[in-house]
Assembly symmetry: C2
Homo-oligomer: 170 residues x 2
């Protein structure tokens, strides 16, 4: 099965993101709004406890850190994903790197880390141009504290379920 | 906002439940398959850490316990909810009672605890009779270990997001 590691922001920021996701993101119902720390990777269900142990070790090394949104942006022309851009603060980047460079979690991602919360995807070029031209004008000024992240796994129908929460610095 | 406390069973049992939920449960996309320990209650977001603390204390007192499904049943004529019945083992009932009788969590539930995983709801009487007459014949023999439960809260659009996991006996 597939597992993933993600941060769920505050209810306020999740509600804001979902007000767009419900219109522009076909994956809206599969998972609440999130910042991906590690995208889908293969795992056996019986190995989940080993992953938990490893992530608990990592979480202990960090302290809660600020999360700040900067604007609405897009990965176009790479793909038609519209997202809330998150400031790549040093602690967030360190946490991401620690998880993604550890051979425990498989081969490291080759993409540069652009912290974000997706609000639209799988849009045609026309839809993307239309939607993005409006959304990019919106002010998104959220500032909050991240004190946890989650290990999730995916059910057969694509829905993600949380396996465990890891509290930073605990 | 609303919060709730639930157990998510194994992937296998969640997949089994979702194969029916996707057809018979309009709340399918709001939350993965679960056994409710405490139904929706009002909470302020800033109080979540206090609830976490309390639930951590409770979780520490328990050890992982077996979860066994017994059959597919229905709450009809009380309501048209079809569910997977879970054996009310002493530890599960104790955990439920501890959470539901603690004044910390508000007034106790007046319903008797019938541990279950909902697979169908909001069915008309005709649909209920039709669906239930088929589903009640299905053998459901899952046996697994529960070693955690979760505190969730509800977003404005009805989707539930996990705030924290509590490991039994840790």
């Amino acid at each position: 099965m597939k597992a993933g590691i993600a941060i769920f922001p505050s209810k306020k920021l999740q509600d804001f993101a979902n007000s767009y996701r419900k219109r522009y993101d076909p994956k809206y119902a599969l998972i609440p709004p999130h910042l991906t720390l590690k995208g889908p990777f293969d795992i056996n269900e019986e190995d989940l406890p080993r992953y938990s142990e490893k992530l608990e070790e990592i979480a202990q090394k960090y302290r809660p850190f600020p999360l700040r949104t900067t604007k609405i942006s897009s990965f176009h022309p790479l793909n038609n994903v519209i997202y809330i851009k998150i400031e790549p603060t040093p602690v967030l980047v360190d946490l991401y790197n620690e998880i993604n460079e550890d051979p425990f979690f498989g081969s490291p991602s080759e993409n540069q880390f652009v912290p974000h919360i997706t609000i639209g995807q799988e849009l045609s070029n026309g839809e993307h141009a239309d939607v993005y031209s409006q959304l990019r004008l919106i002010d998104v000024e959220f500032e909050e504290t991240v004190d946890r992240f989650h290990l999730l796994y995916q059910l057969d129908d694509g829905i993600w379920t949380v396996y465990e929460t890891f509290l930073l610095g605990k």
